[in-house]
């Protein structure tokens, strides 16, 4: 499902501009949406999920305009949404919770619903725990329930908002792998402020900063933003004062710094191969000067 966003703005009460004229084209497959906290990612996700109405602009998802009531309903029939602050009913079991959401998504036939829930519980590796009440689940298990509920209607568009926040490393890797497997023929929009999540799962991405779209393209293009801007400095003296330090490791009696800066931050600085995180930081330095 292709997503076409034109001149999208969202202004909250109190003249808070969350989105400022966003133009974005999202193809089928896994797509990353990067940005710091408060960049407008969640607002954009909520508009795409039909939970918020934009102030102006158009959003078309596979031909349906989500800004109209009919379009929103059509999109929600083919949408899977995992919100940032996922909540569940603690007194229901995972199976009951999924059954309830499945009914709301229109899976009326009992046998179909049961089979689908059973399949998804296996996909997210919760089959053994399906009949336990959700109040006993860990954060990672709840996230997996969240992804299972999002997949109930076999959505063509899957929106996941900050899905790995708060998960331990093992659970984060498991979740990322699961999302990659799910991409296939559907569009998976992964919104996050964790660059590593995008680096490991997406080939295309967009970057938001303070409500504006500051980048859209492939991962390689964003990495290239940091070409000739990443440096390694080994010193026993003070830390480099120019550029942004992205890593600092003890090195012998001194420190080894990794710095993103437009010019060598130290006479002894050595150029280094950029990563996606470096590209993101270089972009943000240029887009939102400190």
């Amino acid at each position: 499902m292709r997503i076409q966003i034109n001149q999208l703005t969202k202004t909250y009460k109190g003249d808070v501009h969350a989105l400022k004229g966003i133009d974005l084209d999202v193809p089928t497959g896994m797509y990353g949406l990067l940005g710091s906290n408060g960049a407008g990612k969640t607002t954009l996700m909520r508009i795409l999920a039909g939970l918020l109405r934009p102030t102006s602009g158009t959003v078309r998802l596979g031909g349906d305009d989500v800004t109209t009531k009919e379009g929103r309903l059509a999109v929600q029939r083919t949408l899977g949404y995992l919100p940032q602050d996922l909540g569940v009913y603690p007194d229901l079991t995972a199976r009951q919770f999924l059954d309830y959401i499945a009914l709301l998504k229109g899976l009326d036939e009992r046998s179909v619903r049961r089979r689908r829930i059973g399949e998804l519980l296996e996909v997210v590796a919760l089959g053994e725990h399906a009949d336990r009440r959700l109040k006993g689940y860990s954060g990672g298990m709840l996230r997996r329930v969240g992804i299972a509920q999002a997949l109930l209607n076999d959505p063509r568009l899957l929106i996941v908002d900050e899905p790995t926040t708060g998960l331990d490393p093992e659970e984060r890797i498991r979740f990322r792998t699961l999302l990659s497997h799910l991409a296939g023929e559907r569009t998976v929009l992964l919104s996050t402020h964790i660059v590593e999540d995008v680096a490991q799962t997406c080939r295309h991405l967009a970057v938001l900063a303070k409500g504006r779209l500051v980048f859209q393209g492939d991962v390689g293009s964003l990495v290239a933003r940091a070409n000739r801007r990443v440096w390694t400095v080994v010193t026993s003296g003070a830390a480099p004062s120019t550029g942004r330090i992205v890593a600092a490791l003890p090195h012998g009696s001194g420190m080894r710094y990794r710095v993103v800066a437009p010019v060598p931050p130290d006479p002894m600085a050595q150029p280094a191969e950029p990563t996606l995180e470096d590209g993101y930081l270089a972009l943000m330095e240029a887009a939102v000067p400190a």
């Binding site: 039909g50 939970l51 602050d85 909540g87 569940v88 007194d91 229901l92 709301l104 509920q149």
Partner: protein, 265 residues
């Protein structure tokens, strides 16, 4: 709507706190009325006549358990947002109005179960001890016309109120409202007691079931304020009272839906 009704009913009926609070309130009720609670008419002067006995039973049951009912409902509507489930529900293609009605029916239905158990429990006991099968029939009639309309209105009020004020504050205000607007005598102070807007079912008792006041005076409080809200208790006014309760509930739910639709944007 059916899915929401089903699961909201299930979640509410499973709440241990609901059974504990109702249990304590019931114990207080029985202790306060002891030993009269053991008699069919609860000392209402109805003797062995099941009709006034069931009316007295309804009044007694509602006097305290309606407070529990309202307080237990007070966080049910806002908890979807508090738990973080609202976004998932709202992103589904289900009708938000249908979900609201389903939640209302499910959660109110479950919360009314203990009230029904207390009320019908008495009726069943006395059906056998008095050997009068009509006790159960009167119980059904009284429940449907006196208790149910009140629960319909109070349920909508208790669900929607905490959208405007915190649940704890609402609960305090609800208890105050219950005493001020329903239980105190009409001539004590300006009050909604015994008016067409009171949720105690007086109009059905006096207008439909021909109950006489213990002092022998017909329905009315000559020295009370707001008497324009206290028409004579006739069968038509009794039916009107039931309609008022249902209409108020519908209006509250409609306003709740409009409030939610506004906050969506």
């Amino acid at each position: 709507m059916i899915a929401t009704l089903r699961y909201e009913f299930l979640m509410q009926i499973r709440r241990p706190i609901m059974w504990i609070v109702y249990g304590l309130a019931f114990a207080v009720l029985v202790a306060a009325m002891w030993p009269g609670y053991r008699t069919l008419d609860l000392g209402s002067g109805g003797g062995h006549d099941p009709k006034p006995a069931m009316l007295a039973s309804a009044k007694l049951t509602m006097s305290l358990l309606a407070i529990v009912y309202g307080c237990l409902l007070a966080d049910r509507l806002i908890r979807d947002r508090r738990l973080g489930v609202a976004a998932i529900l709202d992103a589904s293609p289900s009708n938000p109005g249908g979900r609201l009605v389903g939640k209302y029916l499910g959660v109110c239905g479950a919360t009314a179960v203990p009230i029904a158990l207390v009320f019908f429990g008495r009726a069943v006991v006395y059906t056998f001890t008095e050997g009068k099968a009509e006790t159960l029939a009167w119980a059904l009639a009284v429940f449907a016309t006196v208790i149910l309309p009140a629960l319909i209105f109070l349920g909508a009020l208790a669900l929607a109120g905490p959208l405007l004020i915190p649940p704890l504050v609402f609960r305090v205000l609800f208890v105050a409202y219950w005493f001020w607007g329903n239980l105190i005598p009409a001539d004590m102070m300006p009050t909604l007691s015994h008016t067409i807007f009171a949720a105690t079912g007086d109009y059905v008792e006096y207008g439909l079931f021909d109950r006489a006041r213990p002092d022998g005076v017909v329905y009315g409080w000559p020295d009370a304020a707001l008497n324009f809200l206290r028409p004579a208790a006739t069968p038509a006014v009794a039916v009107l009272w039931m309609g008022v309760m249902v209409a108020l509930a519908a209006a509250i739910l409609l306003l709740t839906r409009l409030h939610a639709a506004r906050s969506e944007s």
